[in-house]
């Protein structure tokens, strides 16, 4: 009897390789490749007047130095497009002033860290020697830093973008302003969230090899989307797509930053390999990652809300300003998500949201795990708490009164989501989740605990936050599965992996669907040599998209196996089953007639040549066959394999609720998270161990975003804390134990009933922790993150206001 693998906490097949030092990350490749370093702008906003490379020319090991002019010359000579601006990946009708960067600056730099000169040398040491000796003359322009300066628009980031506004977007259901004005109670709130970043432990990196004989290019890149990098590189280098392959090696974390593509280096490194005829590699160092990759989160919100005596929302109007940095290659995805997912599990009454996406002379902003949701959740949950405080009601009760009810599912929020489809919740039981959370954290008993702590001179507080997360966005993913003649099952899907255990999770699905032992399954992701059509790994979409794709593919392989085996076993297809990799007649048990899938693979591929033992069984004289039928049956193709795609009509919607207990130090204002409780609904759990791991990691990032992480930009556009010394990511000493309970409401949208789980853990962190600190201190919290010193100053302000 085969046990079902889906739903089991199966240990990961990735681990033995990774824990013993046998992973292959980008910088583990190409020890003999030429290496690249960049001259990057030390100024936030300047014109590049002159680049003088004279002093660098004598550096031992120097191979080449390239500036923007070389890219232009190459365009004229070879028809490449490396000199042109990088693509605007996700256009939108409201994105009227989209600007993207050039691979090397073409006369103007718009943030500290923007690449100006590329140096190729024998190794990184030599490349950096040369970089140090290149002199760039600048003409300074006024840097625009922060939302306020961008809005004031006394100076412009891009001369041709009036007001520094890339886009202004409004969505509205009903007449929110009228509803608010007519409501018995009204509130206005100003809220702010600061910048953080994905900050994977491995930065970006690219290795490229041009094979002149074969006229083909192989690019390894630490990306979240190999298929799209392939298309982009081919287009930029003016190569037939057919001559370019992109392989994702082991990736040391992504969290969003690696979905952006092509990064300048993803174009420049392959281009240099092509021109130099030698392998070329670039490995991003940590400072480069801080100043030249991407950040997220920074937004300012103004909320107007109207509600009834019970705390029910009647109208909600939100206006916010989104700082997207110097360029906007990833379009409006982050603010669109904020503006829609802000609604969470609630019915807002009439809703109006308006945002402006603003240029500043800072690093670009693209999705970081949660992708705009932590901000939206912070805004909505702070509003809920403000309503509860205003009416003197229990905070959980106010939330409960505003919930969408289970019998209202599917629920249409009346907005357009980030995938251009309806914001239509497919499933969820919000009251059920809340009940579980209250139970888990002991919500109703907390008041007594708080009092008791007070009596002991301690300050403790509790907070909660709820979210809904659109996951598994389209347009599609695919799978390919082949059974080899030795019974090995080879699975590939095009999207990539950055540590989520996709090889394990996808193998669990295939094991169940195909009826083969888990150990026989080999999964490959993110290798365009194996699978060419894919979108990428983002938006918590792998389990939904590739999971469903390999499930339907496995079903197709299964059907084919049964068709072939029904001939061999002389039994009807309906009477057959596949158990432990053997096709057998149902009900005959282990001793009945059976044929293993390896043998079925042999039968599927009639051969002329006996190149090995298995092949011998499939040659034309080996098996008696019906002489009147073609060796490959009509409508069939050789090989026990199939390829299928999964393309859902719209996103699935996962949800969850977190509750946090904090303690604040009465003297030092130190903030400590005492308990962190999570109730999570991501539909069917494929591997609960992996899902919980994702939640743990997300919670740690949520705690980091609430209490420690921020990008400290000086007014001149210098990032003051561009190192791990100064940008405070939590260590084990800062992250609490996490208590988790699951509620499973399967999605009706896909064959597995799954909803994504990757991002969830991070979303409500700042909101829940802000609420808990507010509860402990009795001080209103309107901005996150919050440091002990900020809390200390809030206390002083509060005392002054009170005295």
């Amino acid at each position: 009897m085969t046990t079902r693998m889906v739903g089991e906490p199966v240990k990961r097949v990735e681990d033995p390789r990774l824990v013993t030092g046998n992973g292959r990350y980008l910088d583990d490749l190409g020890h003999d490749a030429f290496e690249v370093a960049f001259v990057r702008s030390p100024h936030a906003h300047a014109r590049v007047v002159d680049v003088d490379v004279t002093d660098a020319l004598d550096v031992e090991g120097l191979v080449a130095i390239y500036t923007y002019e070389d890219l232009v010359a190459d365009e004229e000579e070879h028809g490449t497009r490396v000199a042109q601006a990088l693509p605007l990946l996700i256009p939108h009708p409201t994105l009227t002033h989209g600007r993207t960067q050039h691979a090397l600056a073409n006369g103007e730099v718009n943030h500290v860290g923007e690449a100006i000169v590329m140096v190729v040398a024998s190794d990184r040491y030599a490349a950096e020697d040369a970089v140090e000796r290149i002199r760039v003359d600048y003409e300074f322009l006024t840097p625009i830093v922060g939302v306020e300066a961008a809005r004031a628009a006394e100076h412009l980031v891009h001369d041709d973008v009036p007001g520094n506004v890339a886009a202004r977007m409004v969505q509205e259901t009903g007449d929110a302003d009228a509803a608010i004005d007519a409501a018995p109670h009204r509130l206005e709130l100003d809220l702010a969230i600061e910048r953080s970043a994905s900050m994977p432990m491995e930065g970006k990196g690219v290795h490229a090899r041009w094979d002149a004989d074969d006229e083909s290019l192989t690019v390894h890149t630490s990306t979240q989307t190999s298929t799209s990098v392939r298309q982009a590189v081919a287009a930029k280098l003016n190569l037939p797509v057919d001559r370019v392959e992109v392989v994702t090696p082991d990736v040391g974390g992504g969290f969003g930053v690696k979905i952006v593509h092509p990064w300048p280096e993803e174009v420049l490194v392959p281009w240099a390999a092509l021109r130099l005829g030698r392998p070329v590699k670039w490995t991003e160092d940590r400072r480069e990652h801080f100043v030249s990759s991407a950040h997220e989160r920074g937004q300012l919100h103004h909320v107007r809300v109207g509600y009834d005596d019970e705390g029910r929302l009647l109208g909600l109007s939100v206006k916010f300003w989104h700082d997207h940095g110097a360029y906007i290659p990833y379009g409006l995805i982050v603010p669109i998500i904020t503006s829609t997912q802000l609604l969470g599990p609630y019915k807002p009454g009439a809703y109006r949201v308006e945002f402006e996406s603003l240029y500043t002379n800072t690093v670009i902003v693209t999705p970081y795990r949660g992708a705009g949701r932590p901000q939206g959740c912070f805004v909505m949950e702070r509003t809920m708490d403000a309503i509860a405080a205003d009416l003197g009601l229990d905070r959980a009760l106010v939330r409960e009164r505003n919930f969408i009810q289970p019998d209202e599912m599917p629920y249409d929020q009346g907005l357009i989501f980030q995938d251009g489809r309806q914001l239509l919740y497919d499933s969820g039981d919000f009251p059920g989740s809340l009940a579980k959370l209250k139970e888990l954290v002991g919500w109703d008993d907390f008041a007594a605990y708080r009092e008791q702590a007070r009596a002991e001179g301690r300050r403790v507080g509790i907070g909660m936050a709820c979210y809904v997360e659109g996951t598994g966005v389209g347009p599609y993913e695919g799978g390919h599965i082949r059974v080899e003649t030795d019974g090995t099952v080879v699975v590939s899907t095009g999207l990539t992996t950055q540590g989520q255990g996709h090889q394990t999770m996808l193998a669990q699905i295939v094991a169940d669907e195909l009826g083969v032992p888990f150990e026989r399954i080999r999964v490959t992701t993110g290798d365009t040599r194996r699978f060419k059509y894919a979108v990428g790994t983002f938006a918590s979409r792998t389990a939904v998209m590739s999971g469903s794709a390999v499930a339907v593919t496995a079903r197709a392989v299964r059907e084919k196996a049964l068709r072939i085996a029904s001939d061999a076993l002389e039994a009807a297809v309906e009477d057959l089953e596949i158990v432990d990799g053997n096709v057998r007649v149902k009900g005959t048990g282990e001793n009945g007639a059976s044929v293993d899938l390896g043998a079925v693979a042999v039968l599927s591929n009639p051969l002329r040549y006996a190149f090995d033992e298995a092949a011998k069984r499939a040659t034309q004289f080996a098996a008696p066959a019906d002489p009147d039928k073609p060796p490959v049956a009509e409508g069939e193709s050789p090989g026990l394999e199939a390829s299928q795609f999964y393309s859902p009509p719209r996103s699935t919607f996962a949800n969850g609720m977190h509750a946090v207990v904090v303690e604040t130090d009465p003297d030092t204002a130190d903030i400590k998270v005492l308990r962190y409780c999570v109730v999570h609904d991501c539909g069917t759990l494929i591997n609960p161990m992996i899902v919980e791991g994702q939640i743990h990691g997300g919670v740690a990032q949520g705690v980091g975003g609430a209490l420690y992480e921020r990008m400290e930009y000086a007014p001149d556009g210098q990032l003051l804390n561009a190192s791990f010394m100064d940008f405070l990511m939590p260590y084990a000493s800062e992250v609490p134990e996490v208590e988790i309970d699951h509620l499973v409401t399967p999605s009706p949208l896909n064959p597995l009933g799954v909803k994504g789980a990757g991002e969830a853990g991070v979303i409500p962190g700042a909101a829940a922790i802000a609420a808990a600190i507010e509860d402990a201190e009795g001080i209103t919290i309107r901005r996150m993150p919050i440091s002990p010193s900020e809390l200390f100053h809030l206390r002083l302000e509060n005392q002054e206001a009170g005295s």
């Binding site: 240990k11 990961r12 990735e14 681990d15 033995p16 990774l18 824990v19 013993t20 030092g21 046998n22 992973g23 292959r24 990350y25 910088d27 583990d28 020890h31 002093d55 004598d58 550096v59 031992e60 090991g61 040491y125 020697d129 000796r133 900050m199 994977p200 432990m201 491995e202 082991d250 990736v251 040391g252 974390g253 969290f255 160092d285 940590r286 950055q498 540590g499 989520q500 255990g501 161990m689 992996i690 791991g693 994702q694 939640i695 743990h696 990691g697 997300g698 740690a700 990032q701 190192s723 791990f724 010394m725 990511m729 260590y731 084990a732 000493s733 992250v735 134990e737 996490v738 853990g761």
Partner: protein, 168 residues
């Protein structure tokens, strides 16, 4: 005209890595992390920050955990170095700390993992039976962006157990 910038002069250094002696001619500025990764091709040691904060590059130098991104290889002549590759069991399979990471799901992307494995190996040599608080403290100098540390702390406890079990 400037002088030629030469990195040519090298120093002979002898490193014993995971029990194998290597004689290398290295420029004085070559970091131990680069020497291990690119000269010896022991790429298990990872570099996450190259400024001594993340701990991904941690190796054991004469048994003590040190950050290989902050050490010049030539300064370690004669040293015994253990990398994550050297934390395997005698048969080349997973050693106890590695096994514990696997069992406890203490890694996701695995990039930080080698630094944790070496750090924990040294810690358990000193403290074979830590409490959970001690286990947490022991790993509090290494950054991981994926796991939230909960399972890493569990893996320290589990590794201690595995190391106490008699090897069959």
């Amino acid at each position: 005209m400037s002088d030629v910038v030469s990195t040519g002069s090298t120093t002979r250094v002898s490193l014993t890595v995971n029990g194998v002696r290597h004689d290398l001619d290295l420029p004085a500025r070559r970091l131990l992390s680069d020497a291990l990764r690119h000269d010896l091709r022991l790429t298990g040691t990872h570099v996450g920050c190259e400024h001594g904060v993340c701990g991904a590059c941690t190796v054991l130098v004469d048994g003590a955990p040190m950050r290989s991104c902050l050490l010049f290889a030539v300064s370690l002549d004669g040293a015994e170095i253990t990398t994550v590759e050297g934390c395997r069991s005698a048969d080349g399979g997973m050693g106890p700390v590695q096994q514990a990471f696997h069992e406890c799901h203490a890694l996701q992307c695995g990039f930080c993992t080698p630094g944790f494995i070496t750090t924990i190996t040294a810690f358990l040599d000193d403290n074979p039976a830590p409490t959970r608080d001690e286990a947490r403290e022991a790993v509090s100098g290494n950054l991981c962006r994926c796991t939230g540390y909960v399972n890493i702390v569990s893996a320290v406890e589990r590794a201690a157990e595995l190391r106490r079990e008699p090897t069959p």
